[in-house]
Amino acid sequence: MQEVKDFKPTIVAFCCNWCSYAGADLAGSSRLSYPADVKIIRVPCSGRVNPMFILKAFERGADGVIICGCHPGDCHYSTGNYYTRRRLALLYSMLDYMGIERGRTRVEWVSAAEGVKFSTVMNKFVEDIRALGECVKLGDIRCKD
């Protein structure tokens, strides 16, 4: 068993191009660090994130998946994140129902101006995932070492 502090989780962050990705850019230009375990995938809108992408990430060995979008009401495409909110509330509830740890999935609204929030959210999420350890309940054994 690995020591928790040595555990390097794989974390996929889907960020919408207009708010959260820009928020991550701002975190970068403000030099607000968060662990390198977080890798960002740019999507036009949080509403572009198909539940299959999330499950795929877990299949391929992700230990946590976080989706970031514009704050409700501020979606660049007016309404995209409202659908995200419904889809992911339901999907995450289903994963919980199947016994998957709740902390492995998250949704956060981060605006382009919230570099600090982006960094805080990521630090917290990584901390949570590190506490949970490696994701063993999901994941394709063929994709493991």
Partner: protein, 662 residues
């Protein structure tokens, strides 16, 4: 097999200090399909771009990955460069190894590993990119300006001057906005009406400008170059073509209980009124709440006295639809409500007023004819005290966290004007800081202090209360480090300004972003300050943030320049990253159309050849001119028929797989 080239930028030491770029180059070379990889100090420089172009030609690259700063910074640059080398611009992907990597990590090993992972994800994605061709759409040669204050007027005048049609939609019965209410303007002290009203007249007289006053935009659809707006012209109960603006009706109207909006409610006006003498259009309007004829079907006096026969009690709101190529938000500001600042006694004492109310009290066309008197009893004040930053720079949550920017200067102006006109009146100013950046601004403030002996006190006022017929201010004097009591006949509150209440609704209609203070957001705070992130939407004046008049006018003209640039184009290039439906997979279920915010998805019954079976099927069809590429439809679609160019299901899946590869 696709041939991919990877270019790793050092960004000077911005990337190279925390990412071992050489190691990234070596690592990506191991990826299948990567035939060329190199690093360079500044990929965005002309020399860097040349390296990229040469490699595209020499290695016949099918796809390019740039490991550099955020795609929000230079994606367009590198796409353009690819095009110069004959590669489709959409065959370029950016791995963001600066903002998302080197700038946030300190450990070189960690940074390098992450940079490699991000590069590999971009490589995996670019292999699934498809060359995309941008489409074209037309431009309606007409602009809509929402708001008829100085910002909206200036923008409209400049656009009209360039030869394009402009409509100004103003919700109140006249254009002019807040500036029309001001007495004098800093730092030159010229009369506000004298400089504004000629512009109002110009706007009305310009054949390219149509004024839609007492009107509101209700709905906006469409996209850059091709907007469609629904505008409600509220019933004025006046035939504006017939009304001569003589004002006879106003003097006869028996209902005089309406608060005079133009005078900030300091006096009343009749139910039928012309907002002010120089109003444009100079026609009357009936306040349907106050009018006895409309509410109780009695009176009708105005109709009797109107020799022009302009009054029409049966008039209804009119809905008009117009098409526009560009839309300008110029919704302006209003002072904040002071109900959360009871300590200043605004609601308790009539002699505590806001700065805008003082403007009206000092204005020759105002309720007192320009004579400065105490509102409570009409007597002459002997001491007037100004309190700055009322609700501005407020971290208590009651007011606004920002600096309202104009208060220091107008307070100096007020103080100076009072001392000039009434040398017997003592003037105190309580301030936190006095901020006077701007041409001739600090000189102006110093004149107030040095020439006019205005008593500036650094400190905040804790309480204002009435005692023995005058006001007492309990305050701290920070420079002398003491608590003081100051007696004053009047108190003027430099009230914070906030975005007009219409801003939020307008922003959501325009799908323009808005910040937490309801100010509209720029596309780029520094480089694109007059554009909204939503294409075709522009920002003029205080709707973007607090500004004084010179700044507002400059921004309004800058905004007009951007609009003119857009309207001058014969064709617009459309974003090819749009949704498309696979007819063979489409069920025709309408889930996608239900989530589309742009009405870009329609349904057609089409003859489909499904592996030899020919049948008529109801299938989704995306209008690429309307689609903005959000991708909501792709997730609503259960069969996967709907996909998005540039961010396809398989591209995103490939990125996920690359990132999760251990």
């Amino acid at each position: 097999m696709l041939k991919i080239g990877v270019f790793v930028c050092w960004c000077g030491s911005n990337i190279a200090a925390t990412v071992d770029v050489k190691q990234v180059v070596e690592a990506v070379k191991l990826q299948q399909g990567v035939v060329f990889a190199t690093d360079y100090q500044y990929m965005c420089s002309e020399a860097g771009q040349l390296i990229m172009r040469n490699a595209i030609e020499e290695y016949k690259l099918d796809g390019v990955v740039i490991c550099s700063c955020s795609p929000r910074m230079h994606e367009a640059t590198f796409r353009k460069n690819a095009e110069r080398a004959g590669l489709n611009p959409f065959m370029v992907e950016i791995a963001n190894i600066r903002e998302h990597c080197s700038w946030i990590h300190k450990d070189v090993e960690e940074g390098t590993i992450k940079a490699i992972a991000l590069a590999n994800a971009a490589i995996a994605k670019v292999k699934l990119n498809a060359p995309l061709i941008s489409g074209e759409s037309g431009v309606t040669k007409r602009a809509l300006v929402i708001g008829g204050g100085i910002a909206g007027i200036q923008t409209a005048l400049d656009i009209a001057e360039a030869g394009f049609q402009v409509d100004i939609v103003e919700k109140s019965p006249t254009i002019g906005g807040n500036m029309a209410k001001l007495d004098k303007t800093f730092p030159t002290l010229d009369c506000s009406a004298c400089i504004l009203t000629p512009k109002m007249v110009d706007a009305a007289a310009n054949p390219n400008i149509e004024l839609l006053t007492y009107s509101e935009v209700e709905k906006v659809s469409g996209f850059v170059g091709n907007f469609k707006a629904t505008i409600r012209k509220k019933a004025r109960y006046i035939n504006t073509d017939l009304c001569t603006g003589c004002g006879d009706c106003m003097s006869k109207c028996p209902s005089k209980k309406g608060k005079n909006e133009f005078n900030c409610g300091l006096n009343n006006r009749p139910a039928i009124y012309i907002p002010f003498a120089q109003a444009i259009p100079n026609v009357a309007v009936i306040d349907p709440v106050q009018c006895i004829k409309i509410t109780k079907d009695k009176c009708g006096l105005c109709q009797t006295v109107c020799s022009a026969k302009a009054i029409d009690y049966k008039q209804q709101d009119e809905i008009i639809e117009r098409e526009y190529g560009a839309i300008v938000a110029a919704t302006g500001y209003k002072p904040i409500k002071l109900d959360k600042f009871d300590e200043y006694g605004y609601s308790q004492s009539k002699d505590v007023i806001t700065s805008l109310e003082l403007e009206r009290l000092m204005n020759a066309a105002g309720p007192t004819g320009g004579k400065l008197v105490k509102p409570s009893d009409g007597s002459h004040p002997h001491t007037i005290t100004f309190i700055q930053c009322v609700g501005s720079r407020d971290i208590s949550g009651r007011g606004k966290c920002y600096c309202s920017k104009i208060c220091c200067m107008y307070t100096a102006k007020h103080a100076m004007l009072i001392r000039d006109k009434y040398p017997d009146v003592n003037v105190n100013v309580f301030y936190i800081d006095v901020r006077t950046p701007g041409k001739n601004y600090d000189e102006f403030y110093r004149r107030a202090v040095e020439e006019y002996n205005v008593n500036y006190i650094k400190g905040q006022v804790g309480k204002v209360y009435e005692s023995d017929g005058h006001l007492v201010l309990q305050a701290s004097d920070l420079l002398n480090n003491e608590q003081i009591l100051v007696n004053s006949d009047m108190v003027v509150l430099a009230t914070a300004i906030e975005a007009d209440e219409s801003a939020k609704k307008v922003a959501s209609m325009l799908t323009a972003s808005i910040d937490t203070n309801n100010f509209l957001t720029e596309a780029h705070a520094k480089l694109r300050p007059v554009e909204s992130p939503t294409a075709g939407i522009f920002l003029s004046g205080v709707c973007q943030g607090p500004k004084d008049i010179p700044e507002t006018v400059s921004q309004a003209s800058a905004c007009a320049a951007k609009v003119i640039g857009l309207l001058s184009k014969a064709k617009l290039v459309t974003n090819p990253c749009v949704a498309h439906s696979d007819e063979l997979l489409c069920n025709g279920c309408s889930n996608c159309a239900n989530v589309c915010p742009y009405g870009a998805i329609g349904y057609e019954t089409k003859l489909i050849n499904d592996h030899g079976i020919r049948e008529n099927r109801r299938v989704a069809v995306v209008n690429p001119a309307l689609c903005q590429g959000c991708g909501a439809c792709t997730v609503a679609c259960p069969s996967g028929a709907m996909d998005l160019f540039g961010f396809s299901n398989s591209q995103i899946m490939a990125e996920v797989e690359a990132i999760c590869k251990k």
